[in-house]
Symmetry: C2
Subunit: 456 residues, 2 copies
């Protein structure tokens, strides 16, 4: 008998699951239907700020595969503009509404993949639902914001929250010629870094002539005629023609939760290594799930395209009758903001404390190429290390061109639970156009090992 | 009683050993004398081709520390222009000649560090000792070649051998405005890569308008008035005003061997993890030693500044009464030639065969940034993998800007003996300015894992 797989959510996780299931099971054996409430399938959500900033000019270039391509190449029925509003586990059906059509119809499934992604965190403050305040999560947000800029030509932008997307949006607004303010509740933007490393990012933000207001919680939004007209903090009122939220994202689990699919302590849907939820026949993948953190050994919710693609692939392989497992995450992240490259992996100091590690840290300054080689740029590298064992717990990089991608060697070391005394002799690549003879990663490891030895 | 440490060779390995020994033992306890036959201490040998090509303009910028600085900062007596010509192990003394002074005097030692580096391989062919044929190994070679170019303004350069230094020298000559030919005995330049990857480098060489003659063994050199006037291969005669050798380097062990210090099968001086030779009180470090290869499990001779610095540091720590060990090498190397970035680590196919591994390989094409992101450049990545286990054995990268340094994540994976199925889910960094959502390293791992599964 032909089985039916229903996928809720048509971006990275959902469509990777669909594609990988299809590769192992032909259409006469498995029907695959994907419902996407937005207008696009399989797009790069991480590219949205660059599309808004006009660094990426073509919307289509962000889209890896359209519904028509899914149909033609893989016999996958991907329906955009279709929102799943209810899951009935007992009946094995989801209720689906076409955009603009309230009632909806029930669609049966044998297996279900929940890939509902994440939603931007919205502050619960007066005026926060006003027009002109944008979360930037799905590609429709990207087209909406870009259109708002093209049509209304706003001149004053305020970004609330200095996380990755907040900073990327601040830069995008700047690139579009606006006067930009960034309001951050914490002491520094980029709260995923330790404050000393975040301070370097803060300097870069200011250097780009973005007004940075740190330690200023927003109290409310002023609204004029339904539209936002200012962001108000405890210290000041910032007139705004357009506002972007950069407060991070949380798993979009309302649908799953209402349907009776268990939610974990991290706020994400509970899944095992194979991306099975505790409900037979129901899978989940991507930003809506919780992930195992390989260093803290705790469940975490991290919204990121790499995880979504990997988890979707794994769900699809398992649905298709194969075997694959997701081994967890390190919290690796990288971005380029205001000319500064920023990267991190593992635990920052406060996270290491929270996870119960006794730790120390070292920070070194080096260059991305041999100091004498033209184009050598500064790089600052921080390692957080377990004090008694010397085991690497986390790493942070702030630097200029060619700095950030070095986090991958550190992430690989972290993945393998290396100690810094083993790391310092690693055979990393060296030539003057690429690094000093002691690569910054080795310099930091050597420095950390010295700190470990001296702390005994 | 005050001990005396004599160091033979004043570059990376020798002076790192001296410095690290000094850090642990003060001058009243340990006298340190280093003899360097050349004119410089602690310089970047890898920077020489860039100095010749005028990419690096200041000679001084290549020098990390001068004899005066060693004296002032560390009470190390580093004597340039002093060549050690003989080692008498029984007497505990070395014979030292000042440059231009034949006889020499005997200098006693309690401990000896041999750090004599490497010498360029010279073809044993008629005319190979003529003037105008340069090996490029020590900084004096760099100043000599640069002076020869500045003064004689040669217009036709021939490079014999297409290894790292050969290619770098071909590019340097090109940058100095010469007509350049590269003669290579093998099918491709960059013989440290597999031929399919080397072919990409060959294209780049040709694109830079360097005449490439592959599979053309040199038969002899034409000499006019003592100076080289042409390089002759089996197929043609290439008129030459200047010739550089790029045939690689071998450990410079004549002094040690004559003194009775054991030489290994690789041609390098035998050392243990702590950089002790089999002779009590005699240490060796850097290009003159043999190294343990962590993948082939064999002794190899690899001349490279990173190893020299690490080995020197380790010898110095041990001489100083500390404890440190050198864990071996992977054969990681990187260069930038003719606009192409080239990197490798571990074993190439033929090396994997020689080492007794049953293996397969995959090659993937990807981009250095998200394909839609401005500045995305091509990257080609090859993995060599053990067939039955899926263990990574080696990796090669050829690409454009931002491609090569990704070898470090692969070197770290190799260091930890990872399998490609473990690697493909690693949490490497992703953002559109840095990589596609599946980083090329992950794409290659996924592809290799598929090949392993299908080969069963």
């Amino acid at each position: 008998m032909r089985e039916r797989l229903v996928v809720v959510g048509g971006d990275a996780a959902g469509m990777s699951a669909a594609s990988n299931a299809r590769r192992r099971r032909p259409p006469d054996e498995l029907e695959i239907v994907a419902f996407e409430r937005g207008s696009f399938t399989s797009y790069s959500a991480c590219g949205i700020p660059y599309f808004i900033g006009d660094v990426v000019t073509e919307l289509d270039s962000l889209i890896a595969r359209s519904p028509q391509e899914f149909k033609d190449k893989q016999s996958i029925d991907a329906r955009i503009g279709h929102e799943v509003t209810e899951i009935d586990l007992e009946a094995g059906a989801v209720r689906v509404s076409r955009r603009g059509d309230g009632a909806g119809t029930w669609e049966g499934f044998d297996q279900l993949v929940v890939a509902t992604g994440a939603v931007p965190v919205r502050p619960d403050l007066p005026g926060s639902e006003a027009l002109g305040i944008y979360g930037v999560q799905v590609l429709d947000d990207g087209t909406t914001v870009r259109k708002a800029i093209d049509e209304a030509e706003p001149s004053r932008a305020v970004v609330v929250g200095g996380g990755y997307i907040g900073l990327e949006m601040a830069e995008a607004f700047k690139l579009r010629g606006m006067e930009v303010s960034l309001v951050e509740m914490g002491p520094q933007p980029m709260g995923t870094l330790d404050p000393d490393m975040g301070a370097v990012v803060a300097d870069a933000v200011r250097n780009l002539d973005i007004a940075l207001y740190a330690e200023e919680p927003v109290t409310h939004f002023e609204v004029t005629g339904g539209r936002v007209s200012a962001v108000v903090t405890e210290q000041r009122t910032l007139p705004a023609d357009i506002v972007a939220l950069g407060l991070g994202a949380r798993p979009n689990t309302e649908l799953a939760e209402n349907g009776g699919i268990p939610i974990g302590t991290s706020g994400g849907i509970v899944v095992d290594r194979r991306m099975r939820t505790p409900v037979e026949g129901v899978w989940a993948a991507g930003d809506c799930t919780e992930k195992f953190h390989r260093v803290s050994r705790k469940a975490v919710a991290i919204a990121l395209g790499t995880h979504a693609n990997k988890e979707g692939r794994i769900a699809g392989i398992n649905i298709g009758g194969g075997y694959a497992g997701f081994p967890g995450v390190l919290g690796t992240a990288v971005t380029k903001v205001c000319g500064v490259e920023v990267a991190r992996t593992g635990l920052k100091e406060s996270e290491a404390t929270d996870a119960g590690f006794e730790h120390l840290s070292v920070t070194i300054d080096s260059t991305t190429r041999a100091a004498y080689f033209p184009g050598a740029a500064p790089i600052k590298l921080k390692l957080v290390v377990e004090r008694l064992s010397g085991r690497l717990l986390g790493a942070q990089i702030v630097g200029e061109r060619e700095a950030a991608k070095r986090i991958d060697a550190l992430a690989t070391a972290l993945w393998n639970e290396m100690t810094v005394d083993d790391m310092l002799n690693m055979d990393l690549s060296y030539a003057p156009p690429y690094s000093p003879v002691w690569d910054p990663v080795l310099v930091a490891s050597r420095s950390a090992w010295k700190a470990v030895e001296e702390s005994r």
